[in-house]
């Protein structure tokens, strides 16, 4: 490593000369710990960060412990149904206040010295309290910003963030396409998995909307499913689709602005999707274009910087927690429309398990590829990763599909093999790193 990257030099990391046919990123962005420290302070501690889904804190007293960057926080459902989010550290000596990652407690008592806090964050008990103590000095520290969009809860340590709706912008309708699938909303299904990844968080961000790798890394998945089907197994909703993976279907990629990115690919067997059973209801409830997108387009959405929402054969919330330049923890949850049939729910879960987990038959291969990419980035003698595929196919603003659905991307192309969506990601990354993004 050649020492720390000064703010002045950040621009040299992203070689953005699209007019000359070149967009490339210095691979030190994946491996340099000083860059990572700056990401923590300038991105993760400044941005809206996805915290949890509302179904994970449904009732008064429900809490969910997560991290903003590296700072522990917990979301707590209040008596009046509203939400608050606090720094997860006792005001006295900083012990974590929630015994579990997720649970219910209408008051929280620190297990170290027994200080007690109400759901509201007010300090209401100090063991062996001394005369004249002003307890209000010890109320829990609320984070600066907290807001929800369609049940997805975001928070920020910064008060200086744009309104969440404005921040999500063109990504909003992609969230809607998941959230409107049931009039009762979505729920996170019991069970989850967290896996430690020896690679930079931005490689995971890239991978989540990388259509180009699918026909190589997941070729074996498609072959495995084809072999399964040739034996006549797992039919109907029990089927796991592989047509999308084999290629040759319509696809597209989008730079949604603010670092958000998305891709879709046409399903070859939409009737095997768990949402198919609800198609008539959806047609009555929603505009035809939304129904078409929900039923027939497999979608991957990346919301800058820490969450991915997948609606493919199954549906997933994937959350990143950056540990260091070289490591990111990834937690995955199956999110599903409330009220779907048990058959659809079981089908959704089996598809999830087939593909998505580190114990599954596809995400495990993604993980291995990602870790190899990270390791290869250590080769400082070859320092650039190019993102030039699709340069000649860029549409600035909306394409016909985007216009019909009603969102305005920064740019798009008609092929998920293209890499130009990453330009928006790295441009936004650079703006935030330089402290230039003011909402």
């Amino acid at each position: 490593m050649d020492g720390s990257i000064l703010t002045d030099n950040l621009s040299t990391l992203v070689d953005d000369r699209v007019d000359e046919g070149m967009f490339r990123v210095d691979r030190s962005v994946y491996i340099d710990e000083s860059i990572f420290e700056q990401e923590i302070s300038n991105i993760f501690e400044k941005c809206w960060i996805f915290l949890c889904h509302e179904s994970q804190v449904a009732n008064h007293g429900d809490y969910f412990w997560t991290e903003i960057g590296r700072q522990p926080v917990f979301v707590h459902r209040q008596e009046d149904g509203s939400l608050k989010c606090f720094i997860n550290a006792c005001s006295h000596r900083a012990a974590i206040l929630t015994p579990f990652r997720q649970g219910n407690a209408k008051t929280l008592t620190c297990r170290f010295h027994g200080w007690t806090y109400k759901c509201s964050g007010n300090c209401v008990g100090i063991k062996n309290e001394e005369d004249g103590t002003d307890r209000s000095r010890f109320d829990l520290r609320e984070i600066a910003s907290l807001a929800s969009y369609q049940g997805f809860i975001f928070g920020s340590l910064s008060a200086d963030v744009p309104a969440l709706d404005d921040w999500l912008g063109a990504a909003k309708i992609w969230i809607d396409l998941m959230a409107v699938q049931s009039p009762e909303g979505l729920e996170v299904v019991p069970g989850s998995s967290t896996y430690k990844t020896d690679g930079n968080w931005k490689l995971q961000a890239e991978n989540s909307v990388d259509g180009y790798h699918v026909s190589t890394v997941h070729r074996v998945f498609a072959h495995t499913i084809a072999a399964r089907e040739s034996k006549g197994e797992y039919t109907g909703i029990g089927k796991t689709e592989s047509g999308r993976i084999s290629g040759g279907v319509p696809t597209a990629s989008y730079d949604l602005g603010n670092g958000h990115m998305a891709i879709w690919a046409q399903h070859t067997t939409p009737e095997a999707r768990p949402i198919w059973e609800a198609r008539e209801r959806l047609k009555n409830e929603l505009p035809p274009k939304q129904v078409e997108w929900i039923l027939t387009k497999g979608r991957n959405l990346y919301i800058f910087p820490n969450v991915m929402l997948m609606d493919n054969p199954s549906t997933q919330i994937r959350v990143m927690k950056p540990i260091s330049a070289n490591q990111v923890d990834i937690s995955v949850y199956c999110v599903a429309p409330k009220g779907e049939s048990t058959k659809a729910r079981a089908g959704r879960l089996r598809k999830f398990e087939d593909f998505y987990l580190t114990a599954g038959m596809a995400t495990s291969d993604d993980l291995a590829a990602l870790e190899d990419t990270h390791e290869g980035s250590m080769a400082r003698s070859a320092k650039w990763s190019e993102f030039n595929r699709g340069l000649k196919s860029i549409t600035h603003g909306a394409d016909a599909d985007a216009r019909e659905l009603g969102f305005e991307p920064q740019a798009c192309t008609d092929n998920w093999n293209h890499e130009v969506l990453y330009h928006g990601f790295y441009r936004h990354w650079l703006r935030m790193m330089k402290g230039e993004f003011q909402g």
Binding site: F100, R101, Q102, G103, V189, P190, G191, S192, S193, T194, Y195, K196, D198, V217, R219, V220, F221, H223, T224, I225, A227, R228, K231, E233, Y234, D329, Y333, C334, T342, R345, A346, L349, R350, F352, E353, L357, T358, A359, G360, M361, S364, D365, D366, L367, A368, A369, E371, D372
Partner: protein
């Protein structure tokens, strides 16, 4: 040790050995056609999910075909996570055997699994809950539930890591 205990213990040992030595087809042959292979996920720090159909599992295979999928992928040599293949050593112990009733026996065991691969050496552990069934005089596995005690998982996990 009774004959049944010996028979059950041998079967469980044999499974571990076949996995470690990559005798995949013989491994699958230890299972009945309708065998369930179930690795629940953790619902919270203390409990795994307990309804495999309606909750998220790490792996839930509802018949032997599911095991065949896994072996197909390993043998294809086209799976990024499985080339090169991790080396593994399973050490099985604490085998406890119930009584045989109408050709069915339940057994539990513990397993320490040491693997070596790109991440170096990793040691992990599983609790096994077996249901065994006698078919043509021979005991086969009709259900294996694996409680994989690790939660923050390191690296890809496949049937030979568990």
């Amino acid at each position: 040790m009774t004959d049944l205990q010996q028979e059950v213990t041998n079967l469980i040992y044999q499974e571990a050995t076949l996995l470690d030595r990559h005798h995949w087809d013989e491994w699958i042959d230890l299972y009945t056609e309708d065998a369930v292979y179930w690795v629940p996920s953790w619902a919270n720090e203390e409990e795994t999910t307990d309804n495999p159909e309606m909750n998220l599992n790490l792996i839930y295979l509802r018949n032997r075909g599911g095991l065949e999928d896994r072996v197909f992928r390993i043998e294809s040599r086209d799976s990024y996570a499985s080339v090169p293949l991790d080396r593994t050593v399973h050490v099985v112990g604490n085998v406890l055997t119930g009584n045989e009733k109408a050709g069915e026996v339940e057994a539990t065991a513990n397993c320490i699994i040491h693997s070596y691969g790109k991440k170096g050496g990793l040691t992990r552990a599983s609790l096994y809950d077996f249901k065994l069934r006698r078919e043509d005089g021979e005991l086969k596995i009709s259900q294996k539930k694996i409680t994989f005690i690790d939660d923050r998982l390191e690296g890809p996990i496949d049937v030979y890591h568990l």
